[in-house]
């Protein structure tokens, strides 16, 4: 069975600084998706960034980028120029390519932005 582990329950960063959230996963599949989701205090979960395992290039979305290390099964999220609105729970998630694409989530990391 696939598992996803986020070893940092809480992180904090100064506004405008850079922070990296860690995620490791375990799977026997060769192709799959990895996601970072953000859940602000209002609770609506939204997608931050997505990575297809067959793509070697790391995904980026504006201030958000990932460091995808397939061999190490590591998928970290880097947030540059942190803003107060980045404060949220961040979840790393995995899904297979085929089928109903159920998501397997990590435990979450609560990110605090210090002004």
């Amino acid at each position: 069975a696939q598992t996803v582990t986020q070893s940092q329950p809480e992180m904090s960063v100064q506004e405008a600084e850079t922070v990296t959230l860690s995620c490791t996963y375990d799977t026997s599949e060769s192709d799959y998706y990895l996601f970072w989701y953000k859940q602000p205090p209002s609770r609506q979960m939204i997608l931050v960034i997505r990575q297809e395992a067959y793509k070697q290039q790391n995904a980026t979305e504006n201030r958000f980028s990932v460091n995808f290390q397939k061999a190490a099964k590591s998928f970290s999220l880097k947030i540059s120029d942190s803003q107060l609105g980045d404060a949220a729970m961040y979840f790393c998630a995995y899904s297979k390519i085929q089928g109903a694409q159920k998501l397997v989530f990590g435990q979450g990391t609560r990110l605090t932005i210090n002004p």
Binding site: Q44, M45, F91, L103
Partner: protein
């Protein structure tokens, strides 16, 4: 924009009551999911559905059932609510793979259920 709505943001029920949580999506998605979110455990899949009247158990189906009579609507049912079902419940929907559309799941705002 994709919109997933849930019938209640907060719900308080008593032990033994039958509870219905409703979810509606407006993007004609094939897949719909129900998750339970608990601190330190992340989100865990209760049930999912990949078509009308089709359903499959997730990782923690015990004590729950689901219904999908229409494509846009997916209901989670607690037949006899218990205190250990106090939690946040999140509904999500997604497209089938291979359609060229986005494959990520879109989430509703969640229902905070308290069972007394």
């Amino acid at each position: 924009d994709v919109k997933v709505t849930q019938s209640s943001r907060y719900l308080v029920k008593r032990t033994g009551e039958k509870v219905f949580l409703e979810c509606v999506q407006d993007m004609d998605h094939e897949n719909m999911f129900w998750y339970r979110q608990d601190p330190g455990l992340g989100l865990r899949l209760i049930y999912f559905s990949y078509d009308v009247k089709m359903k499959e158990k997730g990782d923690i189906p015990e004590g729950y059932s689901v219904s999908r009579e229409k494509k846009e609507r997916f209901s989670l049912i607690l037949e006899s609510a218990s205190t250990n079902q106090t939690s946040m419940y999140l509904c999500a929907s997604s497209e089938l793979p291979g359609t060229g559309r986005a494959v990520e799941q879109f989430f509703g705002p969640g229902t905070r259920l308290t069972v007394l």
